[in-house]
Symmetry: none
Subunit: 121 residues, 2 copies
């Protein structure tokens, strides 16, 4: 693991939720530590490939990242305040398997996200 990736992971941990690349950069440089924005982007990309961070999009299209447990799950995200619920298990897993089976696809992965308005917004 690259040390820049570790620094990014730590700042994401500190952020506690979703943060954009620029916000991660500010979190690190705000402490006096020095790191380039380019390195942040590269670290986030690696972490994404290693499935250590989740990626979503704000409404304006900006990518936001956060630490992610290794267990497979889905997200229910409030469009307004960003509150996020992680959804584990459920009928979607069976549905995905059933669809893959019906069309004879193998090694099928899936992504699914729900976006709405939470009860407090």
């Amino acid at each position: 693991m690259k040390k820049s990736a570790i620094r990014v992971l730590q700042s994401l941990q500190q952020a506690g939720g979703f943060a954009s690349a620029q916000e991660v950069h500010q979190l690190i440089t705000g402490k006096g530590d020095r790191i380039g924005l380019t390195t942040i982007y590269r670290a986030l990309q690696s972490l994404q490939e290693e499935k250590l961070v989740d990626v979503l999009r704000r409404e304006d299209g900006e990518a936001i990242y956060r630490l992610c447990g290794e267990a497979h799950h889905h997200h229910l995200v409030c469009k307004k305040c960003g509150r996020t619920v992680e959804i584990y298990g459920g009928a979607i897993e069976k549905w995905a398997d059933a669809v893959a089976d019906e069309y004879s696809f193998r090694e099928v992965e899936h992504s699914a996200d729900l976006f709405g308005t939470c009860s407090q917004c």
Copy 2:
């Protein structure tokens, strides 16, 4: 309704599914009709406010639009050859509603896509 908005609606209808602003522009200018990209963006924004089009984001963040009321469906995509199956209905719709209900989210939309290897690859 502005006439530019109508032209955009028609090309979205012709597209049959999701299309980006640039794709809409190409659909119109490709026929010899002339319209500015700026106008496309403005028309899509109005149509979005009037709730006549839905907007989603591609993985790279680009906004894609489709007619509201266009039949909702999901995709099963072969990672190797690109073959795509459209999936209508199924357990995922109930799952999404159930999850939204469980967490008291309102106006919940969802996206879900399956990626695997088709029987011919």
